[in-house]
């Protein structure tokens, strides 16, 4: 179905879900391809944000036909928890990345192949 007509319709839940999907996919691809440890970390951030967008979209009263079906407050609270936990996760991940950088003198993930058979 034509994408343009989709654009002209009033903004609904699916619009937000598309943005969430795009973020999610970019995050996965980024994690898969990046050789820089911090690049992988950025991929993780994108994935988390993709999920958070979906939660906020579902909990918004304007985007659905009858606003009773929306998640209401739960969506907001879960997004808050996602943001807080992402901060904690980023802190630990960076600490590990710095330790990796100290021991291997480079941030390139491919160098970390000590456990290879």
């Amino acid at each position: 179905m034509s994408f343009l007509s989709f654009l002209s319709q009033p903004v609904s839940l699916s619009h937000y879900l598309i943005v969430g999907a795009v973020l999610f996919v970019c995050g996965i691809v980024c994690m898969a391809t990046k050789r820089n440890a911090i690049g992988v970390l950025m991929g993780v951030e994108l994935v988390l944000n993709g999920a958070a967008v979906n939660f906020v979209a579902f909990s918004s009263p304007f985007l659905r036909a009858d606003s009773q079906l929306s998640l209401g407050l739960d969506g907001h609270l879960i997004t808050l928890f996602i943001i807080v936990l992402a901060a904690a996760e980023a802190a630990v991940a960076l600490a590990i990345a710095l330790c990796y950088y100290n021991t291997h003198a480079t941030i390139d993930v491919d160098e970390g192949d000590e456990l290879k058979g």
């Binding site: 710095l98 950088y101 100290n102 003198a105």
Partner: protein, 400 residues
């Protein structure tokens, strides 16, 4: 903050050590000094000063012209204290020729040299405030210094390079009315000193930035040949005006003044409105060096007042300078005098003709600066200007 041994320097992330050039044209180095710092993050592990950018081979020229012609060269060595430099060279040649100067000239010399000491200490205090980031005291100090330069302009026509003191006395007598203008300056200056203490010495942030920074132990100070406020800041009670050679101490013979150095934990307090020594200040740190300079200004005021009284008391000849072609007796003479920055030594070797065979100037800042690599090891990057500023160096004198 105790000094960190470079071998055990902490590293959190493998930042390869940076080699940073501070200078030669850097806002906080006084003149053209180049400091090569090896830093690891914020901690400075090694400092190597590079000098020689202002070397004008004054000593080579000294071997071609007569001593009186060389006096303008001594002015340009420590351009902030021209009078004291002239005094040093003049007295060295007088020592060689065993020349005595009349009392009236002696008192003029004391007055003028102590005024120049105040001017030099004012510049030191002002630029030190600038190094630590507060702009205002710099302007207070230079406003007072302008008044001193006006007084000098009346005496010898120049504001920075005076060539006023020569062998055999001074080139001219004080103009009429100069003494009460000088008295008015001293009175005004005495009100400004508490202001400077308030803005700098007892300022909480200033104390935090200087107390315990760049600690110089008395033994290291003596071993490195430091002198002046740098030496006295480390608690060594040594001032050539009192402990120097007879010829120098004769100049300050019947003058009553204190030598400013922390003795048994306290400074000589002849006035009660000095700010107390803060608890964090360790003997020999940048704060003490700054404090010694500030109190020396007060002693200089006392000296000038006594010199003015004595000058009015005795009326004799002012002493006429030696002739340009005066033959110097054969032999050597080395004499050190108490310049504002430290002991400024001059040596003259003559072979009997009017032109000296060899002229040598021993600079106080040359030795004071050689201490930097010792006391700056392990400090933070922001401490470098604090330490170098407290040594109060002038590159003209170091490079000659």
């Amino acid at each position: 903050m105790e000094r960190v041994d470079p071998e055990l320097v902490e590293f959190d992330v493998r930042t390869d050590e940076m080699l940073i050039n501070m200078g030669p044209q850097h806002p906080s180095t006084h003149g053209v000094l180049r400091l090569v710092l090896r830093t690891d993050g914020e901690v400075v592990t090694d400092v190597v000063p590079h000098i020689g950018y202002l070397h004008r081979c004054a000593e080579k020229i000294g071997e071609k012209i007569s001593p009186r012609q060389w006096i303008p060269y001594t002015d340009r060595m420590d351009y902030l204290a021209g009078m004291n430099m002239n005094l040093g060279w003049a007295m060295t040649v007088e020592k060689l020729m065993d020349l005595e100067i009349p009392d009236r000239a002696r008192h003029v010399r004391v007055m003028v040299c102590e005024l120049n000491r105040i001017a030099s200490h004012l510049v030191a205090a002002g630029t030190y405030g600038l190094d630590l980031g507060s702009f205002t005291p710099f302007l207070y100090c230079f406003r007072e210094r302008e008044k001193i330069l006006d007084l000098f302009e009346e005496v010898c026509g120049a504001r920075l390079t005076y060539s006023f003191i020569t062998m055999g006395g001074v080139t001219g007598d004080l103009p009429p009315g100069w003494l009460d203008r000088c008295e008015r300056f001293l009175r005004e200056f005495e009100e400004v000193i508490p202001e400077l203490h308030a803005v700098l010495t007892s300022n909480e942030i200033f104390v935090r930035r200087t107390a315990g920074v760049g600690v110089l132990t008395p033994e290291t100070a003596i071993a490195y040949g430091c002198s002046g406020p740098v030496l006295r800041g480390s608690g060594v009670k040594w001032d050539l005006r009192r402990d120097g050679e007879p010829r120098v101490t004769r100049m300050y013979e019947d003058y009553d003044f204190e030598i400013i150095a922390q003795h048994e934990g306290s400074y000589p307090q002849d006035r009660d409105d000095y700010p107390p020594v803060p608890p964090e200040a360790v003997l020999g740190d940048s704060w003490h060096r700054f404090y010694v300079r500030m109190i020396e200004c007060v002693q200089s005021i006392r000296l000038i007042r006594q010199a003015m009284a004595k000058y009015q008391g005795c009326d004799g000849p002012i002493g006429e300078p030696i002739k340009l072609t005066q033959k110097l007796p054969k032999g050597e003479a080395y004499l050190e005098t108490e310049a504002p920055k430290g002991q400024m030594g001059f040596m003259v070797v003559s072979d009997g003709t009017a032109i000296p065979w060899r002229v040598r100037a021993r600079s106080s800042c040359f030795c004071n600066l050689s201490v930097t690599s010792e006391i700056c090891r392990g400090c933070l990057l922001a401490d470098i200007p604090a330490i170098v500023g407290s040594l109060d160096i002038v590159l003209g004198e170091i490079d000659r």
